[in-house]
Amino acid sequence: MDALLQLLVNGVALGSVYSLVALGFIIVYSATSVVNFAAGQFVMLSAFFGVMTILNLKLAPALAYPLAIAGMAVFGVIFYVAIHLPLQKRPVVSVIIGTVAAGIVMQNAALLIWGPLPSRIPSLFGDANVSIGSSVVTVHALATIGITLVLIVLLYLLLYRTSAGRAMRAIAQDVEAARMMGLPVTLWLGFAWILAAVFSAFAGLLVAPMWFADVNMGDPIALKAFAATVIGGFGSVPGAIAGGLLVGLVEILGASYISSTYKDLLSFGFMILFLLVRPQGIFGERISERG
């Protein structure tokens, strides 16, 4: 039972990271219909922004973390202006390919700048553990879950309690209608990219103390987050959260109780099952039902 508790906490912590990245996918997809295949590299870059501010510049955490997040927000703008805007009149597949290419450039640029050696960012919570019975759970894992919850609540408030959120939802529903209603669509699309980048920043800064900042860390995270998005339902915020948590739990519990060798098979097999049985995901709506 104690081992189960440890596994559940680790699974939810892992799932929280996938949820954050999946939310980045959803925010961009909902606003622009673009699947951002550079999402994993956004997480990687965020981790290295943390390396710069925390390890290289040795700034106090109160400054280092906000600076790293702000840096990613700026990067989101740059990405929007340099990749999305020039391609937005092209077929959507061109934009998607653009994100793939941008991801490769980001990864190799990171390798040139920071080199192949991984870096370890110390956790804000140190190596503190919490003992529950004979199981041990890290404070960092609990904090990851807590911070993800707070971000989800803030996102909900933004989308459903503010005029900014109303504008974003209007654009997600019908961009042309939103434009005709006088909404500054270009600005709001840019804001969507900034928001996705900020969510990636949190994912990167939370995951780096657990997994180290490494130029190759982005792709495996993005793949699992993509699976989470498919399971939860493309375009659905609750879906991204549920999908992320499910993937994290399937991965950890599957490795423990079924097979550690085939745990990736379990996670992606689960995704394929959803594609076959319920392709719109848990919370997604069928395309024919979108108005």
Binding site: A3, P118, F212, P220, S260
Partner: protein
């Protein structure tokens, strides 16, 4: 008109002499440079160790040329990026062989890639040196392939022996990276331990890109493992050691050489290395040659070298010795290398057996409590 003819003749003569001179210079220049190929993971997830032997090969090139080269001819090591997959490795090898026609090539330190490229090596019919550890590579019986570090069964045997005899394990657990190296090492260790009456209680694996091994570690703990033997690569080794501590696991861990390289150690705290033993290819700080190499590498590249890097340096020096003795004809080089005994390198003494494995011993190390300093425990030789 006569003057014009004379001038034209003089001009053509000068041009002919000039061309001959240029051609002769080019020929002399070509003879003075021997191109050697190397396929190294410079980008991708394997670049962590790839950078080590990229640097070592460049250092070896410099040292060989400073010492006069190969009978006056300089060597130039041309490096192609092998990246992380078998297909990119094969492409890199084919490219370097077809474009540069080298008499010798260095392959990567990854068994999966070594096995994948073996048919192309056979086609190219030139000697190669590799540092992948899986026994399966030597079992291909490819006469052109020479291994310059201990094979995995040597390391696995040493790990199993030490765990049973010195750490007194009766219920060992095994965790390994899911590939030829990890699976080979795990199987060899499990077999030996079972023969010695200490059958492993569990064997868990993880993928190369996995970051969370808590499920696997907890499984071994719950099965009652009293020592954990790990077959790892550098980054996952660091993750594993950290997660052992954060999960509160107190079992001693015996870790393979990938977990002892500087790239791993720099990610860990002294507390992460408590109760950790390891089997490393070579304890470089333990010999004068090894120490000198450590210092020179650090002075040139600003980072610490690991035994993989040292092995490639030794391989390059051995290759140069072979070429100085018999020239660059591939069959002559192959025959020379097959008979090498007691070549003293910075990392090992090399003697190739009938399967062209050059190293037959490993060093057991432990970390001084409260520090990240490795201390030498003993050498284990496996014939």
């Amino acid at each position: 008109m006569k003057n014009l003819t004379l001038n034209l003749r003089a001009g053509l003569t000068k041009a002919a002499i000039g061309s001959l001179l240029v051609t002769a210079c080019a020929a002399v220049s070509a003879q003075q440079t021997i191109t050697v190929g190397a396929t190294v993971p410079i980008t991708g997830p394997l670049s962590l160790t790839g950078t080590q032997y990229f640097n070592s090969l460049k250092l070896a090139e410099e040292d060989i040329n400073k010492a006069g080269g190969i009978k006056g001819a300089k060597i130039a090591i041309v490096i192609e990026d092998a990246q992380a997959s078998n297909s990119t490795m094969i492409n890199a090898f084919i490219k370097v062989v077809q474009e540069r026609k080298p008499p010798f090539v260095f392959l990567t330190s990854y068994s999966t890639q070594n096995i994948a490229v073996a048919p192309e090596v056979m086609k190219a019919a030139i000697p190669v040196m590799y540092a992948g550890g899986a026994n399966a590579v030597a079992d291909l019986n490819n006469k052109w392939m020479f291994r310059i570090r201990p094979q995995d069964s040597t390391a696995a045997t040493a790990m199993a022996r030490y765990v049973k005899d010195k750490l007194k394990a009766s219920k060992p657990g095994i965790i390994y990276i899911q590939n030829d190296f990890g699976q080979g090492g795990a199987n060899a260790a499990a077999k030996l331990l079972e023969e010695q009456g200490a059958k492993p209680v569990g064997s868990e694996s993880y993928g190369q890109n996995d970051k969370d091994m808590s499920a696997q570690l907890l499984n071994l703990k719950n099965k009652g493992a009293d020592v954990i033997i790990a077959f790892v690569y550098p980054l996952d080794a660091a993750l594993l050691l950290r997660q052992m501590k954060t999960l509160g696991l107190k079992q001693p861990m015996m870790i393979s050489s990938g977990g002892l390289v500087p790239a791993t150690i720099q990610l860990l705290s002294p507390s992460d290395l408590e109760n950790v033993w390891g089997v490393t290819d070579a304890f470089l700080a333990g010999t004068p040659k090894g120490k000198d190499f450590l210092e020179r590498y650090k002075a040139k590249f600003g980072s610490d070298v690991d035994p993989y890097g040292a092995a490639y340096y030794d391989g390059a020096r051995l290759m140069a010795q072979a070429m100085s003795a018999v020239g660059t004809e591939p069959n002559a080089l192959q025959a020379y290398l097959s008979k090498v005994k007691d070549f003293q390198g910075v990392a090992h003494v090399y003697s190739f057996d009938d399967k062209r494995n050059g190293v037959h011993d490993v060093a057991v190390v432990k970390f001084r409590p409260g520090t990240k300093d490795m201390e030498f425990i003993e050498t284990i030789t496996v014939k």
